[in-house]
């Protein structure tokens, strides 16, 4: 733990090469649901990074102290941690910055059912990351989600202005755009010879 080269590997791997949204298909609901406007997409991405960092810390704690005694509780304890983290973050933001709270609206509680968060905790466990590695992984993965959300929102805003046959509009078009984005991100696979 703490080898800087390894940390960079983890960060870039989570950010680009194995982008959570575009190559693992995680967090697709906000990816399609909230990518209509650029500003909202960016804020949701930031909220995701925040929740991911806290979840990563909590998962490291659970892995170190609780789960060795009761491995079958892994999934249940993780989901409870994610749900309570989101609840906690919601309360903190409401108290400290009501403006941001209003801007995030319904998306904040919905982060609970964002599979990317739970997946982060699970991947971190299955790859045996320590606390520092887990944090770097969380920031990279959250950054990757934000990147994908912002790219998608930009493309969709552009697509709204062009003339597109009515039957393609909507989900079908979004999926095909996402496919092309995902193909572009495959280009990053050459950055590292190993896969993570």
């Amino acid at each position: 733990m703490g080898d800087p080269g390894n940390l960079v590997w983890i960060f870039v791997g989570a950010l680009l090469v194995n982008n959570f949204t575009l190559s693992y298909f995680l967090g697709l609901c906000p990816f399609f649901g909230v990518s209509g406007r650029l500003a909202t997409a960016f804020r949701l991405g930031l909220a995701n990074i925040f929740v991911m960092v806290i979840t990563s810390l909590a998962a490291s704690f659970l892995n170190a102290f609780v789960l060795p005694h009761a491995p079958y509780l892994r999934l249940i304890s993780f989901i409870v941690v994610v749900a309570s983290t989101v609840q906690f973050v919601e309360m903190v933001i409401k108290k400290t910055s009501p403006a941001l709270f209003r801007a995030l609206g319904i998306f904040l509680p919905l982060i609970t059912t964002n599979c990317a968060i739970l997946a982060l905790a699970l991947f971190q466990t299955s790859r045996g990351y320590g606390v520092v590695e887990g944090l770097v992984f969380a920031v990279g993965a959250g950054g990757g989600l934000t990147l994908a959300l912002v790219l998608m929102a930009g493309l969709r805003q552009e697509a709204e202005l062009s003339s597109i046959p009515s039957m393609i509009k909507g989900t079908a078009m979004n999926l095909i755009i996402a496919g092309i984005l995902s193909m572009a991100f495959m280009g990053f696979a050459g950055l590292f010879s190993g896969s993570g």
Partner: protein
């Protein structure tokens, strides 16, 4: 045909909402309210693991199991679960059955379990399952709730198998691991890679949209003829 169209707006007339009977609750999930193709729910697992038909089938089967069991339990306990903590209760119930499914798959078909990886655990956050608990199982008795879960789960299973099969045929030239076209077939490898998932679902949805529009035009013409 005229009976399936409503005047000018072209929306199909749905039969008046039936009192929750078993059969209609089961059938609606298969096609009319198909979770993947119509409601576009549960996208993450629907795209992530459907690079072969077998994986799609396994994922669909696990989801069906979890959905039916949790719907049964939530419906049976619906008068005991306090409203303010209902979502957390559903999540804990769902997580319990997912853990059961996870261990069962690991014990019986380790190869498939390895390929599906973390996505089995991620069934917990499949919005389809939580959605059915909130929208249906928590309001109806056990019978209709289980029928609804069976229908939605089977619809999910069929869609995943269809997606996986289509991607496997194009990307590997095989179906359920059996080679279809012989050694001369040049596989369309992109289809079993991540972008292929987006493309395949996108094109399938596009196909349904085209079919729907064509059907509506036919129905409108039939209505027009009757009026004339």
């Amino acid at each position: 045909m005229a009976t399936t169209a409503r005047g000018g707006n072209g929306l199909p007339i749905l039969p008046p909402d039936p009192s929750p009977g078993m059969l209609p609750e089961f059938v609606k999930g298969l096609w009319r309210e198909n979770p993947v193709f119509v409601q576009v729910l549960g996208m993450c697992p629907a795209l992530a693991v459907t690079n072969t038909a077998v994986n799609g089938l396994a994922m669909g089967g696990a989801t069906l199991f979890v959905l039916v069991c949790s719907s049964f339990l939530v419906s049976a306990l619906r008068r005991l679960i306090p409203k303010p903590v209902r979502i957390s209760t559903y999540i804990v119930i769902i997580a319990t059955f997912v853990t059961v499914a996870d261990f069962a798959l690991q014990a019986t078909v380790p190869a498939i379990h390895r390929e599906l990886g973390a996505f089995i655990s991620l069934i917990v956050v499949n919005c389809l399952i939580l959605g059915r608990q909130e929208a249906f199982a928590s309001k109806y008795p056990v019978g209709p709730a289980v029928a609804d879960a069976l229908g939605m789960g089977s619809g999910f299973l069929l869609s995943l198998t269809l997606l996986g099969g289509a991607r496997e045929v194009l990307g590997k030239g095989a179906l359920f691991g059996v080679s279809l076209f012989g050694p001369d077939f040049e596989p369309w490898v992109i289809m079993i890679l991540p972008p292929g998932g987006f493309f395949m679902l996108g094109f399938l949805l596009l196909g349904f949209a085209v079919a729907k529009e064509a059907r509506q035009k036919i129905a409108e013409r039939a209505v027009g003829k009757e009026a004339a």
